[in-house]
Amino acid sequence: MVWAPIRSSRGLPRWLLGAGCTITLLFVVLAVFAPLIAPYDFDTFSADGQRFAQQAPPSAEHWFGTTVQALDVFSRVVFGARTALEVVVLSVAVSLLVGVPLGLVSGYFGRWLDRLLVLITDTVFSFPPLLLAIVLSFLLSGLLGGGVAPAALAITVVYVPQYFRVVRNTTFSAKEASYVEAARAIGAGPLTVITRYLFSNVVQSVPVIATLNAADAILTLAGLGFLGYGIQPTEAAEWGYDIQRAIADAGAGIWWTGLFPGLAIVLLVTGLTLVGEGLNETLNPTLRRRRLLPVTLPTRDTDAGGSR
């Protein structure tokens, strides 16, 4: 059911999906196998008892050069992919886990619960996302300590309202459908109606938002890192932080410290956006154009009795 429209997609949507998935997969491979791919750890500034040169240009030894802290840029970019994907997966997963059930419940039950939840999420919406993420990241790192989790959760809060809104609105219209009343008529309780009848018909639009949000989350994470409110440099490699450190280098003609993390961000965001747009083109019924598929007639089957 779910894969059929993707498999049958052709032309531009298929190209978008293909390109996006390729780029995204590349980064997933980088992230998963980072210790194998990167020559050094993200905070290694020496090997064999010898310090690396500071701000050394790209060479055979350091493919992307080194930073002012004598860190290998290539290794940092590769480990940065790991951080980015950890944060994205965590934040998207948590936003889905919170936003989708809230949207379903709010849309199905309506009344005061719906009003309250809409009010809260609208309030969250009205904050500039980056500002909200900074404040939350600040608060959460105090509560949870450092690491990936506070940044991921801060981003989560920014995206929950989006899932909530989309799921709530589709639930609102889907619950008027005849099959929901039919479910009630056969004796299904609210939980059964929501999980077995509404969920599968409501989540169709969620993959699209999830991938687009994933792209957005990379940017928010980089923004947090750039401003110094994200993941601490001792804990993980983070592209935003690297770009911030590279600002001073740019004036001195040292281009490699800023270019490669920047390229990584652009590529991954582009990849995820392409996936999102491609999914939107294939899954969204208002955009999707159904194609005529060639039909192969089966050979005449003499013993098939059922003609109904």
Binding site: S178, A182, A185, G187, A188, R196, Y197, R308
Partner: protein
């Protein structure tokens, strides 16, 4: 074609509906809601009383907006009644909470109008048909579930079962979908089936098959049915008794044969006259009801059918609105100058939309009340057979306004006629 099985004589009453009312609040305008103003309500079901005997098929027949579907949904507790009771074997469903209703759903099931919409598009047929069993915890394991689902599918003629069980609703035709809906409805072994226009969305060729299937199921499973339809032909084929609904009320109820052979209520007669006659050589003069079904928010006074009724007379509830409708009807036939001249007599035509037995019509600033009276007299002379005038006691001039006094309207109650009941003053001995 199988013939209808006769219901067992003196069988127990399955369903007893008493003075059931379902009113829907209107939301009104934004400002009205802000100020807490009452926007009124639609009286979808307005005082329905009926009972259903075991094994009987009762047809609810009416035009769109007559409240038949709402009544059907109220029978299942899918909408909460405003007042009245729906007693299923002694249990009043109207007072139960949803959680208390759920066990009763095993006994009362529903078939929906649009079979495509009534099945979850993301659930295959086997899961969908078996879901009631799982919800009520009636099967021990997967094998038993599978067996019972396949039994039900075979029962409704979706064979070979293996071919249909794994299909999704979108892959089936309308008739096959409706068979699947029927399978889901009978799998719990219900006693009462409410069928809401089960064949109206299907092709003609499929209709007869589905109706035959329903007759088979009814006979084999000992079902009682409420069959909701706007289609008199299928009602005649399927029902033992028929209740004709108009604006939320039952206007006539009786055995199918009697209703079709000798309809009592003018509305029933009109409905039967509206059935197309397949014989072109027989041109019968049709007395189709004039106008449209009135607004359910503010139904006409007295008998709500009186503005459309060719036989209406004095007590049917004539009021100001009918005078306005009559004048506007007249004006459609006039040329523009005459229309402008006549309309200029009135201060405000909206003043005519009042309830009650006395209508005061104020003349426009420079006109006299006498000229309005003269106009009404002219209309009366022009068409003395118009039923409205039977309800007008007198037209006079008082306090600078034209006053029309109507006979006090009386709401007709369902009264007995031979075999059944009818809500019409024509059959009320008090007015004979």
């Amino acid at each position: 074609m199988p013939t209808r099985p006769e219901p067992a004589a003196g069988a127990a009453t399955v369903l007893d509906v008493a003075d059931l009312r379902v009113h829907f609040e209107l939301r009104g305008s934004f400002l009205g809601r802000l100020l807490g103003r009452d926007a009124g309500s639609v009286q979808a079901v307005d005082g329905v009383t009926l009972s259903l005997r075991h094994g009987e098929v009762l047809g609810l027949v009416g035009e769109s907006g007559s409240g038949k579907t709402t009544l059907g949904r109220a029978l299942l507790g899918l909408v909460r009644p405003t007042a009245g009771s729906v007693c299923y074997r002694g249990t009043d469903l109207a007072g139960l909470r949803q959680a208390q209703l759920r066990p009763l759903r095993q006994r009362i099931q529903m078939v929906f109008q649009d079979p495509g919409a009534a099945l979850n598009p993301a659930m295959d047929i086997e899961t969908a048909v078996g879901h009631p069993l799982r919800i009520h915890g009636l099967v021990r394991d997967r094998d038993e579930l599978r067996d019972r689902v396949h039994d039900a599918l075979r029962r409704v003629g979706l064979v070979p079962v293996e071919r249909f069980a794994s299909k999704y609703p979108a892959e089936l035709s309308g008739g096959q979908q409706q068979r699947a809906v029927l399978a889901r409805a009978i799998i719990l072994g219900p006693e009462l089936l409410v069928a809401d226009e089960p064949v109206s969305m299907l092709d003609m060729s499929v209709r007869a098959k589905i109706l035959e299937l329903m007759l088979d199921l009814r006979r084999d499973l000992d079902l009682s049915c409420v069959y909701i339809t706007h289609d008199l032909a299928t009602a005649k084929f399927f029902c033992d008794r028929v209740a004709i609904m108009y604006l939320g009320r039952i206007v006539e109820i009786g055995p199918t044969e009697r209703i079709f052979a000798d309809p009592a209520h003018p509305y029933t007669r009109a409905l039967l006259a509206a059935v197309p006659e397949p014989d072109p050589t027989r041109t019968l003069t049709r007395q189709l009801p004039r106008g449209e079904v009135p607004d359910g928010v503010d139904p006409p006074g007295g008998c709500s059918f009186h503005p459309r009724c060719p036989h209406a007379f004095a007590p049917c509830g004539w009021e100001g609105r009918d005078v306005r409708a009559l004048l506007e009807q007249r004006w459609t036939a006039l040329d523009e100058a005459d229309y402008a001249a006549e309309q200029a007599l009135f201060a405000d035509l909206a003043e005519l939309d009042v309830r009650g037995s006395r209508l005061r019509i104020r003349p426009a600033a420079s006109r006299s009340a006498e000229s309005i009276r003269a106009l009404l007299e002219q209309v009366r002379v022009g068409d003395p057979d118009e039923p409205l005038w039977r309800g007008v006691r007198q037209v006079s001039v008082a306090d600078g306004a034209c006053v029309v006094d109507f006979v006090e309207g009386v709401d007709p109650n369902l009264g007995p006629v031979d075999e059944g009941a009818v809500a019409c003053h024509l059959y009320d001995p008090a007015y004979r």
